[in-house]
Amino acid sequence: MQQLPLFPNRASTIGTGVDHLYFYLVGVSGFFSILIFTLIFVFAIKYRRRSPADRAQQIAGNVPLELAWALIPFGLEMIMFFWGASLYFRHYQAPRDAEDIYVVGKQWMWKLQHPEGPREINELHVPVGRPFRLILASEDVIHSFYVPAFRIKQDAVPGMYTTEWFQATSVGKYHLFCAEYCGTNHSRMTGWIYVMDPADYQNWLSGGAPGESMAAAGARHFSRLGCAGCHVPDNTGRGPSLVGLYGSQVRLVGGRTAFADDSYIRACIMTPSVNRVANYPPIMPTFRGVISEEELSQIVEYIKSLNQGARIQP
């Protein structure tokens, strides 16, 4: 048997804030536990049936006292609320310079791909000190990408993209768990995050077989699936041009506008009838069931590459 661990190791920028809030919570709840336990213990002994303790001047209620023990805990709670909320918003809003990594969960493995091309299964190699945004998708049921050492977790939900981000702070090997129950081998859907020295990371990147980048693979799918027939770059096709689409505002049928982020592009491909662009005929077919989540993410990455320099929040 191993030694008895009491506290997890920590290797991300957001982890520090989460742990500090945790210590605050431990402090507050420890204080109130000890207060209540002590009072019960003291009263139970002092006022036991046979004790001669003074029981004169009984009180049946005391409004100021009751207000105090409602309002003081409430004040302490509001600190937890604002502190927790501000960290939570940080957890979902990746810095502008974060690099994307695409993650697809499927029963019972994690498939990851870097935009430069390298693919990994149940492993992720990242350099220390650089922010990464994970774009999560699921091929089947709900999974959850959980790295305890980073204090981050996000469900991968079929039919949509979700994101989380991290910036690793120390080199090492950390657990990756699937945290949302996903069937028989849920507890085997685990892996490792390797946080590397930047130089080691460069070696690792160049060491693998030279694969094509995600955008290049996406471009291949784009022509294979016939997308290029309508989405002509100079806007003369039957569909809108996709150059400069990513990060722009799109006018939809019915006067709505949509912000063209990863989720929007995904939705346009999978449920085009819901996201019809104004002034174009409703002729785009759905690709639901036709392409895999990985192919989809490559196409999204290709479309994003048509607007280099755009860097937006999902």
Binding site: M1, Q2, L4, P5, F7, I14, V18, Y22, L25, S29, S33, I36, F37, L39, I40, F43, A44, Y47, R49, A53, D54, R55, I59, A60, G61, E66, A70, E77, M78, M80, W83, G84, A85, L87, Y88, D140, V141, I142, S144, Y146, P148, R151, I152, K153, D155, V157, P158, G159, M160, T162, H175, C178, A179, E180, Y181, G183, T184, H186, S187, G289
Partner: protein
């Protein structure tokens, strides 16, 4: 009790247990007391079935590789454990057993408002339980008690439909029970029993009944839609059919979070009866405790999204749900402080129900305080779906609700059975349950912050020591739960006969013989004072 009252008589009167005999007289009874006993027998059976699943799970977790059962079996074990314990034990436990037995007695009525409906509730419960047990025997269900889609509708090859049908049917038993209680409390109170003279147990059951009536139908809807999608491929939740998997989570938790309050509100009600009785004092802040039950029931409907902070729901929704979750904690905190203040200057005796009440306050306080961790958005991101959550809700639902249920069973046992239980064994069981519980579940808080996900059949080796501690605690806990089963059954035949009011308690239920006659009271009692007038009672005795 060392102070046997002077009015102790040996009751050989006619009462609800000896009024008639034979299986028909039980299965066709409309007497709320007999129906309570039917529930008691059936949920006790379900409790030990659910407990057996838990024992097997804990044994499997002794080793990191989980060598005892296969992953498939393990997944079925935790699913069946959760489903049976929640829907077929905890939800009906205090309301359907203790509530059914004591509500009419506490308000001076002959029965509940709709006695036949009450019996129908039990038959619905039994039918639902039959479906659940069939599902277990036929091969089990592996979806987790949460039935998350699209796993439950498109990927699980187990008996999801029959299990969902069982939960669906049992839900109607809850709805009818809730309806019965609300009408009974509104219309059948004895003369002089105004709302502010109601025992707090009734306030808490009233609040619980409101949740039963308003929340359970939403669960029924969710399960029905789940069935439609699984059976006929109607695309509601599965994205490959055009559905939305997160919609299911909203519908499911809209009921299933209030369901937590269904478990804990009646428990709070029991504690509010026991503490004044064994402190010989009026309860501190009666109205605040009563209103806080109602506040919990109402705000409890608005916090379901705190189960979904990492699910992909809007982060702004997360903000609202976090805030409301902090709000709902306040009425619970008030109750804990008020119970503690009730002890101040009391005359405290350590009878078994009081020991369970002390245990309840301790464990519920820890369960409640760890809830604050889960309401803190960023901390929840780390600990949700880990053992931290498992520990938290067991502190509330087992440490809280089951402790109070056992405390209530002991408190009203003399009234129910007409016999006294062996006090020494009972005190020992309270202690064993408390110690076993903490050893089982406290290590799980640490496991959770370390990052061990829940519902794992195997786990990394560094988590083993804490898991072994937890399993050791579970075996102690099992002994603690078996003890009352043995000595309470023993006492039904061999226990000393109980007087009408063994605890010198103030409630109306203690003013009729033990066990009560079939129609509860010879004459309808008239209420002239507030509840918990223990000070007046003590003065009269001096």
């Amino acid at each position: 009790m060392s102070t046997m009252p002077a009015e102790l008589e040996i009751h050989t009167h006619e009462h609800y247990l000896n009024a008639s005999y034979g299986i028909r007289s039980w299965l066709l009874t409309t007497d709320h007391k007999r129906i309570a006993l039917l529930y008691l027998a059936s949920i006790t059976f379900m409790f030990f079935v659910g407990g057996a699943f838990a024992v097997l799970m804990r044994l499997n977790l002794l080793t990191p590789e989980g060598e005892m059962v296969s992953a498939e079996t393990y997944n079925k074990l935790f699913t069946m454990h959760g489903l049976i314990m929640i829907f077929f034990f905890l939800i009906p436990s205090i309301p359907a057993v203790l509530g059914n037995f004591v509500i009419p007695l506490m308000i001076g009525a002959r029965d509940v408002a709709f006695p036949k409906l009450n019996l129908l509730s039990w038959y619905l419960f039994i039918t639902g339980s039959g479906f659940a047990l069939y599902s277990a025997i036929a091969g089990g269900v592996d979806t987790g008690w949460t039935f998350y889609t699209p796993f439950s509708t498109a990927y699980s090859n187990t008996h999801v439909l029959s299990m969902a049908a069982g939960v669906f049917i049992t839900g109607f038993s809850s709805i009818l029970t809730g309806l019965n209680f609300v009408v009974t409390i509104h219309t059948m109170r004895a003369p002089g029993l105004t709302w502010y003279r109601l025992p707090l147990f009734l306030w808490s059951l009233y609040a619980t009944s409101v949740i039963f009536i308003l929340g359970t139908p939403v669960l029924a809807i969710a399960l029905l839609l789940l069935g439609l999608e699984r059976l006929f491929g109607v695309g509601i939740f599965n994205p490959s059919l055009g559905g939305d998997p997160i919609l299911f989570q909203h519908l499911f938790w809209f009921y299933s979070h209030p369901a937590v309050y269904v478990m804990v509100l009646p428990a709070m009600g029991v504690i509010s009866e026991v503490i004044p009785c064994f402190s010989r004092k009026r309860i501190f802040g009666y109205k605040i405790i009563a209103f806080s039950s109602m506040a919990i029931a109402i705000i409890g409907f608005l916090v379901w999204g705190h189960h979904m902070f990492v699910s992909g729901q809007s982060i702004y929704a997360g903000l609202i749900f976090s805030f409301l979750s902090y709000l709902v904690a306040i009425p619970s905190a008030i109750k804990v402080f008020n119970w503690t203040a009730t002890l101040y200057k009391g005359t405290i005796s350590y009878a078994t129900p009081m020991l369970y009440a002390f245990g309840f306050i301790g464990l519920f306080t820890m369960g409640g305080l760890t809830g604050l961790f889960l309401a803190a958005l960023a901390v929840d991101v780390h600990v949700t779906d880990t053992y931290f959550v498992v520990a938290h809700f067991h502190y509330i639902m087992v440490g809280g609700a089951v402790m109070a249920y056992l405390g209530g069973i002991h408190y009203w046992w003399p009234k129910i059975s007409g016999r006294l239980y062996p006090e020494g064994w009972a005190k020992l069981s309270a202690l064993v349950v408390f110690l076993g519980f903490n050893l089982t579940f406290f290590p799980q808080f640490i496991l959770g912050y370390l990052g061990m996900p829940r519902r794992y059949h195997s786990y990394p080796a560094e988590f083993q020591v804490l898991n072994v501690m937890s399993t050791a605690g579970a075996s102690i806990l099992a002994v603690g739960y078996l003890m009352p089963l043995v000595y309470l059954i023993w006492s039904m035949r061999y226990g000393p006969l109980a007087p009408a009011n063994p605890w010198q308690a103030t409630g109306l239920e203690w003013q009729t013989p033990s066990p009560p006659p079939e129609h509860n009271f010879e004459q309808t009692p008239v209420v002239t004072r507030a509840p918990y007038a223990y000070d007046e009672m003590e003065e009269q005795r001096v």
